[in-house]
Amino acid sequence: MTDILDLAAANLISPIILSFALGLAAALARSDLTIPEAVAKGMSIYLLFAIGFKGGVSIASHGVDATLLSALLAGLVLSFGLPFLAFALLRLMTGLDRTEAAAVAAHYGSISIVTFVAATSVLESSGIAAEGYMVAVAAAMEAPAILSALWLVARGGGKGGMAPGLLREILLNGSIVLLVGAFIIGGLTGEAGFKEIAPFIDSPFKGVLCLFLLDMGLIAGRGLRQAKGVVSIPMVGFGVLMPVISSVIGLGLGLLIGLSLGGIVLLMVLSASASYIAVPAAMRVALPQANPAVYLTLSLGVTFPFNLTLGIPIYMALAATAVGGA
């Protein structure tokens, strides 16, 4: 227990978390600090490229073990399945109608790549290795949740749904293409390729992550300021409860398919995290009646900071206990 607290405390005073806190505080205090859209997008392209590339390199050097396919499958199952759980919980706990609940549920089945990256950093600092292909699992989990949510709405007779071209759009989404593409490039060029560009994609990585989290803090803070009256206490409760439950399901699947400790933690983090880029854009097309303030506030304003601060240490502790006791 003291371990978790120590880890949580160490985690909390990392430059990454503090940068997020700075952005949040600045936005809540209505400072005019902003990061230009182009710079924010540039940083997110950098992060996706770097994380994908490093995942591919790790495959190239450590080889693919037998669990790769089962891990991908586990990811798909989680992304397809978790929205049903989220939907049920939301209908139970909050007053959201079917469409709103389904839209929120889509976000929780999908993933937050920044949370994944932050967890990778913490694992590295703790000297815990993880399967390089977890990046591919992350990519696989981005989209399926959207389909589950649309099915939930359609089943309830709701309007909206699979607009023509939406499926192609979701699957060829910029983030997925970049992540998977960089993963393949990393796999093909391996250590040699990595050495060439490591001073760009590796050494400054954490620093860029700080500025990126500063921006996410600013966005989350601005969102929270405008969400007054939109998001209720039970919704906030959902935003904390859902990731914890999801992480435990991820833990179970991770143990089942025999991932390493690090891999299990990452699968838990993927399960627990909620999307705030790909899914919101898809929801504006497919379920325009759903209020973006609700799902963005929950995903970015509640679940993201929870995972970043308390979630990751908790998942690590849970995984360590489970693996130790297995």
């Binding site: 921006d215 966005i219 705030y276 919101p280 504006r284």
Partner: protein, 102 residues
């Protein structure tokens, strides 16, 4: 200079719908339009600003100059896309040079 009557239609729509709108315009035979960025705004669904945004969020302003007799076709095509979404459509009387291009 000889000028020709035209309508100037301005459609402010969510960025994720931009390609749907321009496809609908193409299908309605409207092949001339200009897309301009929007950095923020306010409406029934609240205030927003583009700073620091991630992903394809925000809004864009699509502007079409069109012969008056083609206005209804355009509006119907546009309305089908905009209707369920956040967005605003306005029309102004205008005059254009080089009408052969419209």
């Amino acid at each position: 200079m000889e000028m020709h009557d035209a309508k100037r239609v301005s459609i402010v729509i969510e960025a994720p719908l931009e390609s749907r709108l321009t496809n609908a315009l193409d299908e309605a035979g409207v092949t001339g339009y200009t897309i301009m960025p929007v950095t923020g705004g306010s409406g029934r669904s609240g205030k927003w600003t583009r700073d620091g945004q991630l992903g394809r969020s925000g809004m864009v302003n699509v502007i079409c100059l069109i012969r008056p007799e083609r206005l209804d076709g355009l509006l119907e095509a546009a309305f089908a896309v905009v209707e369920p979404h956040i967005g605003v459509v306005s029309v102004t009387d205008a005059q254009v040079l080089r009408a052969e291009r419209f």
